[in-house]
Amino acid sequence: MVMKIIRIVKIFIILTLLLSTHVLAKEINFEATVDRNKVGLGQSLQLNLTFEGSQNMPILELSTIEGFQVRYLGPSTRMSIINGQTSSSVTYVYTLLPTKVGAFRIGPFRFEHNGNTYNSNTINIEVLESIGQTDNQATQEGSLQTKDLNERIFLTLQLNKNKVYLNELIPVTIKLFVNKLGVRDIQFPQFNHDGFSVGEYGAPRQYQEVVGGINYEIIEFATTIFGIKPGEFNLGPATIQCNLIVRKQTNRQSSSAFGDFFNSDVFDNFFSGYQAYPMNLKSADIPITVLPLPAANKPESFSGALGVFDFQASVSPWEVKVGDPVTLKAAVTGQGNFNTVNLPEVNLGDDFKVYEPQIKQDKDAKTFDEVLIPLKASVKEIPKMSFSFFNTLNGQFETITKGPFPIKIIKSEKEEELKITEGKQPAHQLIKEEKLGRDIIYIKANLGELGRKGEYLYKNKIFLGFQVIPLLFYLLMVVMHARNRKLKTDLRYARQLLAPRKAKAGILRARGLLEKGNSVEFYDTLFDVLQEYLGNKFHLPSKGITISIIDEQLKNKNIPEEILVKLRGIFSECDMVRYAASQLVKENMQNSLKGLEEAIDYLQRNRV
């Protein structure tokens, strides 16, 4: 009975739910609302798309709305039961960020679901230059109000020239312009630089600048690039990611005496929430041509230096003894790609011992300190040095030559001492890493043993076949070991195993006696063989075997009577001969032997 009531209640609940959803499905109301209709540029507003009557509506994918950037925030559901009437709704909340000033009408939003079409109402929104600002405030500080968000925050990519030479270092400046907007979480900019090698960014610079009458906060990122292959390229666009801080203004109305106070900016800011709105800003791209270096008039001493440089070189001290060091100092200063600046080569021949130069590179200078040790007193000078570079300003190769540098070498009076000093030098030389050449090692002179291509031992069937031998050998050993062990420990098994072998030997012996005609010994042997065989076979004392014992042992083993008769016959014949030495016919002896052989053969074959 109780079960029946529960079942009825269940059916009632299910029917009610089905009915209610059916009814609700028909009463879905689609409404669009905003939290306010007036908004300032740089502030956001909230758009709510509400479906009254159902919570099972999918999210409405909003495409771009003219004059606004749209971002989906999330859903909000509501369910209420008033006087037994259930109502439910779902609201999809979006943030709208105005991008320009003006009056906009958004909607109607059209939405299709399960074959039904839902149309929302339209909403009018007015985007002002700035909410709550008077005309006076709008023009304060001489700044003009902009009417587009893209004019209030934007990114620029700047180059100081569009035609560069291969390896020429050029500065790149990326500037983020912000006008009266809160921006935070600014990432380092990125830009497409196919065909160029890019240096690292320095610390970003922040300053203010008036552009077109508008005062901008500027964040400047500077780096350098140089072309790595000639051709036409497009640098950029540069992109930067940041969060725009948007004020979420609540629509409070005040009619109290404190109205002015509560409307003040301070209070407004305090109660207004702030929201981070992610922005991805993009600059324009810049076409750039990378020119190859002209092949004509290239000086011999040119080693790839590009820019506008000056070159200085000096030698000190100018008067030394043989074996004492002289320092050659060279400095390249100016603007350009210092990575391609090398110490000019000087032809010193065998007159000097030369050490690796010490190189120091700054932003606008590269210096080389090279230690030279004159080896001969006849040396009068250090030859001239020529530094060549490609002047990127005038597009021509230039060479600066310094020297020769006269030096005076004083011959050491104590030649031997000098040698000793030099002898001590190796300790210093050992520390210096020896530079070894590298190349491949020469070919093999001998062919060596050849093998068939792709033939490996692991695939060789004969070899693999041989691997079975140890296993078989082991198995054989295990079986033999077990048999030996059983022979040693199991006497019954051992006697049974030996019985036929011993019988065979005895029969052979008896046959010999038969041929000799020695009847007494023949029957003695026959009797012994029979006794021993049966004793071993049935694990009985051999000497005590009589016909009665045999009968007793064999009666339950289903042995044909014929065999038993044979055995009895042999026993009685043996007894007769042994105790009454009667004359025996050879034929009888043969029959007895044959009978014994047959009986043993039967017992062995049938495993009795």
């Binding site: 491949i440 070919i443 093999k444 050998f473 050993m477």
Partner: protein
């Protein structure tokens, strides 16, 4: 079974192994031996005179007779290197490393070519195989096969010893355990070498597009430079399906790849 017969049987096993080796190595002494030597020395002479194409031609003729050895691959690798074909140089050094992995000249040249190609170590081995190859990596496949066979026979001899000398059971168990560990490690190493021999390949073109599908118009997944090692997983008429050491899989044109074990050569 008594001890002399045991010695006889184990002796027989070793004789059988020796016969296999003798059979394997004796064929090269046949009628073509002089001709093969002539080709080899002609190749060497061409190399000395910087006629690298001719040297390659002569060495290749020996391969075309169905023969190979580490020295031959080494010389061929050197010839390709001198010719400027670094991809094929790497391929032939890799082939030589399968046969003579312990050759110091070979290791030096192989390393040098890879450094010129800016290629770091490229390995398809897992951690276990890397550890096993630390111990047995310098042994050739054939040597390792014989070594495994030796351990295997030794294990059975020890087992038989256990049957005969019941008193030494503890020592025998320990010895068997040691043999089992050595056997396992060397088997892992051998397996990794055989896998590389059968699946390994080297990119021989300067740069090869590896595509998502075995079609000309398919999107390029990644590019491989010459000398890069890959593992061949599958093949069609004109394409190989390959895997990079980092596990990325794609299709590459047949002509851009040289197989380590290329019996069709």
């Amino acid at each position: 079974m008594n001890k002399p017969s045991l010695v006889k049987l184990s002796g027989f096993c070793f004789i059988c192994l020796a016969v296999v080796f003798i059979l394997r190595s004796s064929f090269a002494q046949g009628t073509g031996a002089t001709e093969i030597s002539q080709l080899f020395y002609q190749g060497n002479s061409d190399y000395k005179e910087a006629k690298f194409d001719s040297a390659i031609d002569n060495y290749t003729k020996i391969f075309n007779l169905g023969l190979e050895n580490g020295n031959l691959y080494y010389n061929l690798g050197n010839s390709y290197f001198k010719k400027g074909d670094l991809g094929r140089a790497v391929l032939n050094y890799e082939r030589a490393l399968i046969l003579i992995p312990n050759d110091s000249d070979l290791k030096s040249n192989h390393e040098y070519v890879l450094s010129l190609l800016n290629l770091g170590p490229q390995s398809f081995e897992n951690l276990l195989q890397k550890a096993a190859n630390k111990l047995f990596g310098e042994l050739s496949i054939n040597f390792l096969t014989v070594f495994l066979s030796f351990i295997y026979i030794l294990a059975f001899l020890v087992l038989i010893g256990g049957l005969l000398f019941a008193g030494a059971k503890r020592g025998i168990k320990f010895f068997l355990l040691v043999l089992m560990v050595v056997f396992t490690i060397s088997a892992i190493s051998l397996n990794s070498k055989i896998t590389y021999l059968n699946k390994g390949a080297v990119v021989i073109s300067k740069e090869a597009d590896v595509k998502f599908e075995p079609l000309e118009a398919a999107t390029t997944y990644f590019k491989l430079t010459e000398g890069s090692k890959v593992e061949v997983l599958d093949k069609t008429e004109n394409w190989y399906k390959i895997k990079r050491p980092d596990g990325k899989i794609g299709w590459i044109k047949r002509g851009e790849l040289g197989l380590i074990l290329d019996l069709a050569r």
